[in-house]
Symmetry: C2
Subunit: 545 residues, 2 copies
Amino acid sequence: MNMPPTVADTMLDVLRDWGIDRIFSCPGSTEAAVLDALTGRTDPRLVLTTHESVAVSMADGLARATGNPTVAYLHANVGLTNGLSHLYAAQLAHSPVVVLNGVKHRSVQSHDGFTTARRMAELVQQYVKSAWQSQTAQLVPEEVNRAIRASVTEPVGPVWLALAQDLLEQRWTGTAPDVSAFRFECRGAPAPDAVRAAADLIRAAERPLLVAGNEVARSDAVDGVVRLSERCGIPVLHEELRSFERPGFPTDHPHFRGRYHPQHPLVRAADVIVFLGVRLFNEFEPPTSPQIPPAARVVHAHPDPRRLGELHGVDVALTGDQELVVSALLTALPDTPTRQVPPRPGDEPRPTGGPRTGRRLRTTDVIEVLTDVLRDHVLVADATTAGDELQRRAVQRGPEDFFTTGSGSLGWGMGAALGVQLGLPHRRVAAIVGDGVFQFGIPALWSAARDRIPVTYVVLNNEGYAAVGRALRRLDGRAVRVDDYPGVDIAGPRIAEVSTAMGVPGSRVETLTELRERLVASRDVEHPVLVEVMTDPAEFRGHDL
Amino acid sequence: MNMPPTVADTMLDVLRDWGIDRIFSCPGSTEAAVLDALTGRTDPRLVLTTHESVAVSMADGLARATGNPTVAYLHANVGLTNGLSHLYAAQLAHSPVVVLNGVKHRSVQSHDGFTTARRMAELVQQYVKSAWQSQTAQLVPEEVNRAIRASVTEPVGPVWLALAQDLLEQRWTGTAPDVSAFRFECRGAPAPDAVRAAADLIRAAERPLLVAGNEVARSDAVDGVVRLSERCGIPVLHEELRSFERPGFPTDHPHFRGRYHPQHPLVRAADVIVFLGVRLFNEFEPPTSPQIPPAARVVHAHPDPRRLGELHGVDVALTGDQELVVSALLTALPDTPTRQVPPRPGDEPRPTGGPRTGRRLRTTDVIEVLTDVLRDHVLVADATTAGDELQRRAVQRGPEDFFTTGSGSLGWGMGAALGVQLGLPHRRVAAIVGDGVFQFGIPALWSAARDRIPVTYVVLNNEGYAAVGRALRRLDGRAVRVDDYPGVDIAGPRIAEVSTAMGVPGSRVETLTELRERLVASRDVEHPVLVEVMTDPAEFRGHDL
């Protein structure tokens, strides 16, 4: 072939030079030039999906697992809107997802033609660091390079670039950008005086507490936090439930003490709390008591300076990469005498659940089996009400052992688990999802089957939106009085059969023994499987009253 | 119960007073106050869905079928974004869908908490006539009333109103708005001088042509157009393929001559073209020749004045309700001598399709059977490549006989068909969708099964994104040279089995005889069914080269 490359070809070369080897997409005719350029190409290659939400969540999962930028290529205005809710998840996790968005020929856009939006950027700009539509073919490779650069620059996060059909179809005659000059690391270190102030607080503290958050996990600063905890004798908590995305500290470490909560005994007792890579906070409802004990001195470190002093004042703020923050604290605290870490209290009280409906399983019992049999798996959790207990019980030895989302975007885990599995090929990934979540992510099963991505899906089927039921219980109004909970019951689908028909062999289990057997069996197969676990639909009735 | 009602109760009273008897929703905990108020209530009652896209498309289908406002109640920022792509479909069809959007307590919003967006309105404002978030409980009933009023005011279309959790939970002590004073009709009639000018053009024309569009159907102006055509002896076309949503003229009328296209012989020959309730145009790609013959005089009538002179200059513009426009023209043309309508030419050439793969069915043959057996059904079409032929062949006697979307938003038909069926309980509805569309709308099957909505789903399974294949053929690049079409093959799911497992009995057919049998059988059941028809995946290879 002697034809010069197209702009689409050159755009793909830019991705290749960044080491991006996959494009996740559910394409339409608008993307023909890109698909044509992808024909026979493996660097990058197309990972086909059958819904844009899957393209985004797969790209997000891969980015979280590897730390590298990934590409979701969306179709027109409708594909963008279909991808938005999971893009919100990527944003919260500081996940470098580059959304390239095929849009119609510029003339069709001008005429408000088929699948166009007059103000595309407005749809997405809240979820990205940069939103731009290329205006001229000659700048497309440069702008793609710039979008990727922007995605991995701290604070890391999604970026959006729209590429019109007619631009990509043009022949490319210019010089593509030298990507190597843009693939630098540029981590920020905290200011020395802030580090000294933080170290002074920690050194003088009598009951200090570390809270190791998502950004510790993302920055591979977990080992440093372990050293800091051990050297200084400080107990460590994970980030609070609603903002938790990844473990910043090994749950099997003797200094681990659970999850941040204002009522946690160590929080209530602390005189200095060091929040490392934590968000303060992702509120679910207005707090009825202080989120941070007023008497505690507060050190807060985060790579995104906007997260510092966002809602809560601090004594010391540390901006920068969490690994560099922790290194600096270790350097500043060379010989701190080791305190005695307070002994581990009894386990947090285990929720007892509500009355059992006949022989249906209790969620807590199911999670006990899951976290036992799947203890060496990477867990991707997207189970609205069960997620709390799951995250509490799962052994998380390292930052790649557990992924979830604080977005509330149902269905995320169905696709994200596939991306995580692609990014961690030597691990086995299990997605733990609810039955509501399942219905939001059914097309992910198609991608799992097509690419034989060996994720084990576990669907906790309580046949309902238990979160809605719990909210009605909390409200304690008419629904409780007449014992009728509208919007809760979504019984019906035979989920294992849906899965099998989608190409992922599914089985339904109703006992813990069956569950254990199925999970053990899933460890030996090289393809995706799904296990549907029937749990008790009435459990929410036992909550909050 | 002696407690005063909540703001949520009063909000539901406003809906009731507007005659809105259903709320389509996939709720979350944020909507607890509304669900509590809906407990035991049937005016309106909750229609539960398991994905927001289904809530919106069901509300859209019901609004299209009845002309009355409908309500989709969405959950937080994630639910809104999940509903956007089908809201675009509602917008294009001038469908009065009122989106009420549950959002978190105002304090949580201020703190950028769980499932909040700082600029919610930006996400939606391109798709609605009005976007507002209530600021105070006392104004919620008034603002809901105003949103509904806005939705049905011409140009009719979706409206968005966000309602915070804490506002709805408050007790209501005020006086609810008197809805009856807002439920007026207010159609606009065209200006008399414009009517006279249009009538003069029509009277003087030698080869006039009527094009009866979506807005003729929506305004129940079809009978008037039939009289106008018969009185003046003018042939009639439907709206052009990409903007077509509903039939503005009976296809079995002797004056019907197919669909508008610049190359249609009657279009090329016309000296006066009267576009009634038509959009000019929803371009799919830049036109290579004039869309309207330069020699023709043009009359364009539309209820939305922004659609007049939008891209094409006209000789006479008529703003107003299409029924009033047609009445005015009939009044102004009392005795126009009847012209001879040119004879119907031979049928448009039927696409021959590509080579057949073994024994797989050709789409054209399948559509022949569908449009025969389902000739008394309401058809809801959402089949990207087959939609063209389907719309061309289907007998459409009235404006409720055929619904489709010009949005390109895949999956719309899966939910819209349910809404249409609810709105037309004395008719039987069939949804004709592609296999790609099916995967976008699987949760709609849950709602179909739950409420036993007796839609017949027909899935044309060519195991691919044929539109993508055709686009690659048109591009005629590397994919064609190496005969490899990335992004096309989505084979795998056993769609009938997925459907059965979701609660809608499905069957797969591979012959026209089986298809006919299944369709005939579906007419006698009172619940939803699905028929998966295996069509030829290779057909796109025969196109456009």
